[in-house]
């Protein structure tokens, strides 16, 4: 016979009930979580591989040959998963498999603002054996394009209308533009990273200042120059945030003549720094360029030597040989095009090797007078300007046309629509897709700026090099692609 009282018995029963309830809770929790885990395991195992992430700098796809893109898949794939891999619109590429990543290397520059569809009929999981088709897209960016508008009109208040640098959207039908910097007389400008710099003419036109502004801010501030003088050949490095210019003037007792200076937008001192040549003295340049997106400079010094310079470091310049003229950097490459007495040379900065370029010949009917020539790819294909007088008057109207010339053939890309209107200059987009063509009307008056003279009321047309179609036209000239 038990010695427990009824109260103790009830209490023990209650404790047992509570303990049972706790155990049931634990079991239910473990069972519920186990079932959920089992369900997720099952559906994960039977589902085929799918792209989890696209890794790569989309901007580099439209700026640099050999840019890479990786499609990270959620599981390792079998080797045959890449069979039938296609990209639409068609673009040359190499594909390789790296465990759970499909690595794509594009051997040509991609078009702006284009959706590329990457497809494969069957990706197979290495461990799960499950398969699924690959169907993913990447859209390349459309860059902004900048132009300079020199405005000589008198406003309602009797004052000169200021000059402006306008930002435009590079897509057909998008006519939006906005002013990123304005000043009474802007001689030239450049874009680097998120900054714009403009060379402002003083009233006398004999000296200049440089104003800086953030692209999305209206605030401007002066760049600290070496002294009083004139700034020319202002250029921006792109994403690396450097500006460079040649300066002629004096600082105290020191005189500068076409001396190369660089300005780092991230340098808190805000002072432009001179570049020195092989002899350690300030480098005087005939012409110079940034390798786009880097802080590396190719300069053509007064003595004719090409120099490779690291603007961000203290390393001594590396000589690249003597050449007659610096033609530019071939878009999408790190190859410098240089003019020599016997032709055009291509200097590959990654290897230091120099090779002759065959540029091809334009047809005889391209135009009477050949003009500027811009090499657009490493094969030597180039754009060349031709002018044909419309009358026998030497100062009369001309017809301007732009031709794509290569050893494989030539084709007309653009010609001015109105009789007598002329192409002032042109340049090529960083992805070689478009030409920016500056057009002045037949009756346009030459402006009175001391350098980089233009015409009043100029427009810039963006022309597809392959098809010759005009994508859009902007007000202004000196597009930043030419800077």
């Amino acid at each position: 016979m038990s010695s427990e009282t009824p109260v103790e018995k009830t209490s023990k029963r209650g404790q047992r009930r509570d303990l049972r309830r706790y155990r049931n809770t634990v079991l239910a929790l473990i069972l519920g979580l186990s079932l959920t885990a089992a369900a997720l395991t099952t559906v994960s195992a039977i589902r085929g591989p799918h792209v989890r992430e696209t890794i790569g700098d989309l901007t580099s796809l439209v700026q640099r040959d050999g840019a890479r893109l990786s499609l990270r898949v959620d599981q390792p794939l079998t080797d045959d998963s890449l069979e039938g891999l296609t990209i639409t619109p068609s673009v040359p590429f190499d594909a390789s498999l790296n465990v759970n990543s499909i690595d794509l290397r594009f051997t040509a520059l991609l078009d702006y603002g284009t959706e590329y569809r990457i497809s494969a009929p069957r990706l197979t999981g290495l461990y799960t054996g499950a398969d699924a088709p690959l169907d993913t897209t990447v859209t390349t960016p459309s860059p902004d394009v900048y132009t300079l508008v020199r405005d000589s009109r008198i406003g309602a208040d009797g004052q000169d209308t200021p000059d402006s640098v306008l930002r435009h959207r590079l897509s057909a039908g998008d006519a939006r533009n906005d002013v990123v910097i304005s000043a009474p007389r802007i001689q030239e400008y450049a874009i680097a990273s998120k900054f714009v710099a403009a060379v402002i003419l003083a009233d006398s036109d004999t000296s200049t200042t440089v104003e800086l502004a953030e692209l999305d801010s209206t605030n401007t501030y002066p760049m600290s120059l070496p002294g009083a003088g004139s700034v020319r050949q202002l250029r921006g490095s792109g994403a690396s945030g450097f500006f460079g210019f040649s300066f002629t003037g004096a600082s105290g007792s020191q005189a500068f003549t076409s001396t190369l200076f660089v300005y780092d937008t991230r340098d808190v001192s805000g002072v432009a720094r001179e570049i020195t040549g092989l002899d350690g003295n300030p480098l005087q340049v005939i012409d110079w360029r940034f390798i786009p997106g880097t802080t590396t400079i190719v300069a053509h010094s007064f003595d004719g030597t090409f120099l490779l310079i690291d603007a961000a470091g203290d390393r001594a310049p590396a000589p690249l040989g003597r050449h007659s003229e610096l033609l530019g950097i071939i878009p999408g490459t790190t190859t410098v095009a240089a003019l020599d007495p016997d032709g055009v040379a291509a200097i590959d900065l990654t290897t230091g090797e120099t090779a002759a370029l065959s540029l091809g010949e334009a047809p005889a009917d391209a135009g009477t007078y050949p003009g500027r020539q811009v090499i657009i790819d490493p094969s030597g294909a180039n754009l060349q300007l031709f002018s044909t007088p419309l009358t026998s008057d030497p100062g009369g109207p001309v017809e301007s046309s732009l031709w794509r010339v290569s050893t494989g053939g030539s084709q007309k890309v653009f010609t001015t629509a109105a009789p007598g209107s002329r192409i002032r200059d042109f340049c090529v987009s960083p992805n070689r897709q478009y030409a920016a063509v500056e057009v002045a009307s037949a009756d346009a008056i030459i402006d009175d700026y001391p350098a980089l003279g233009g015409y009043e009321g100029m427009t810039t047309s963006i022309v597809d090099i392959d098809s010759g179609a005009v994508l859009t036209s902007f007000y202004g000239f000196l597009p930043d692609w030419c800077r």
Partner: protein
């Protein structure tokens, strides 16, 4: 519906005498002797076998020491905070600022790590201190599991490592909170949660509650608390670190990485890795980042949620406070919760 359990101090009669130093139990001596005999037998049985490579032994020692060095500051910080809470924060203050509702109290305690950002190994002494001051076992376990994840240092380092990519940061915070509260709720259903504690620790809690009414100086009390906590924690830390170091040196990392390719096995593999390497929650995000290219986001999240809550070192330390059965239950629920979280992220992300 969660049941609001009473503070442990109200469940047991208080004793107004300090327990005398207990003699070393016969059971422990037998276990120690058994291990010694086993090791001697192993030595004779493997006399002809190839010796353990010196490099592997060196790796194991280095890894164990690295775990100890990484953990030790947080252990002492946690002990210091624990002593401060026990001696200088009156019970009534703790109980007054916490919600009366059990669910609300656990939610608030989940975020206590924001104010006391110590690593998981420092949270254990603090959780022990909170229990000594009258908080329930479920409250303290909720804090213990949540605090290593829901604290600013862990959140910032996770953000530094992963930013907002793949929802790793958000999943870690949300997953840590939900699992900690789920386990807290489960324990709150126990009719007598004190039974989940080891007898020694339960007795010390009772003693601490009794000591509240004593008249000894706080300085002397702090020294005694420090001595008791370090005596409990440090051997457990050293043993846990030694086991973690040995397994890391013995287990093939390549094997774990090979598993990383499978959407299911990758989650399990990284949970196993987190369990073995016993890395501190304040720095584990950077370790996980190095695995980011091989393992899925779900696996990384499971690693970052499971590791701070349960690992070899923590289990060894928690064994000073909780019974084996309680730890098995707690580990099972946390592991399953982290597994579901990882698999779910892999499937839906």
């Amino acid at each position: 519906m969660s049941r609001s359990t009473l503070p442990t101090s109200t469940r047991r009669p208080t004793h107004h005498h300090r327990p005398s130093r207990a003699p070393i139990p016969t059971k422990r001596l037998l276990v120690a002797a058994g291990i010694l005999v086993f090791l001697i037998a192993l030595r004779f049985a493997t006399a002809d076998a190839a010796p353990i490579p010196i490099a592997a032994a060196r790796d194991a020692i280095t890894l164990a020491i690295s775990v100890i060095i990484e953990s030790l500051p947080f252990v002492f910080l946690g002990i210091g905070l624990s002593i401060a809470v026990q001696l200088w924060v009156p019970t009534r203050v703790i109980l007054r600022i916490l919600p009366k509702n059990a669910f609300g109290r656990r939610v608030v305690l989940s975020f206590l790590g924001v104010l006391l950002p110590v690593c998981e190994c420092g949270n254990l002494p603090l959780a022990r201190g909170l229990m000594s001051r009258g908080l329930t076992v479920s409250d303290s376990v909720t804090f213990l599991l949540a605090a290593p994840i829901l604290n600013p240092v862990t959140i910032i380092t996770t953000y530094q490592a992963f930013g907002w990519s793949d929802g790793i940061l958000v999943s870690r915070i949300a997953g840590g909170f939900v699992i900690a509260n789920l386990v807290g709720w489960m324990i709150s259903r126990h009719p007598n949660p004190t039974n989940l504690l080891t007898p020694d620790f339960a007795a010390s809690c009772r003693h601490d509650q009794a000591a509240l009414h004593g008249r000894r100086s706080r300085g002397r009390e702090a020294v005694e608390l420090f001595s008791r906590e370090t005596t409990s924690m440090l051997p457990a830390l050293f043993i846990g670190a030694a086991i973690a170091g040995t397994i890391q040196a013995a287990a093939s990392r390549e094997f774990l990485v090979a598993l990383g390719g499978n959407p299911v096995w990758s989650v399990i593999a990284l949970m196993a890795l987190a369990f073995v390497i016993s890395i501190c929650s304040n720095v584990d995000a950077f370790f996980a980042l190095s695995l980011g290219s091989t393992f899925s986001p779900g696996a990384l999240i499971a690693f970052l949620v499971f590791g701070p809550m349960i690992d070899i070192k923590m289990l060894a330390m928690m064994r000073t406070t909780f019974t084996t059965r309680a730890l098995v239950t707690l580990t099972s629920v946390v592991a399953l919760g982290a597994l579901v979280l990882g698999l779910g992220v892999n499937f839906f992300a």
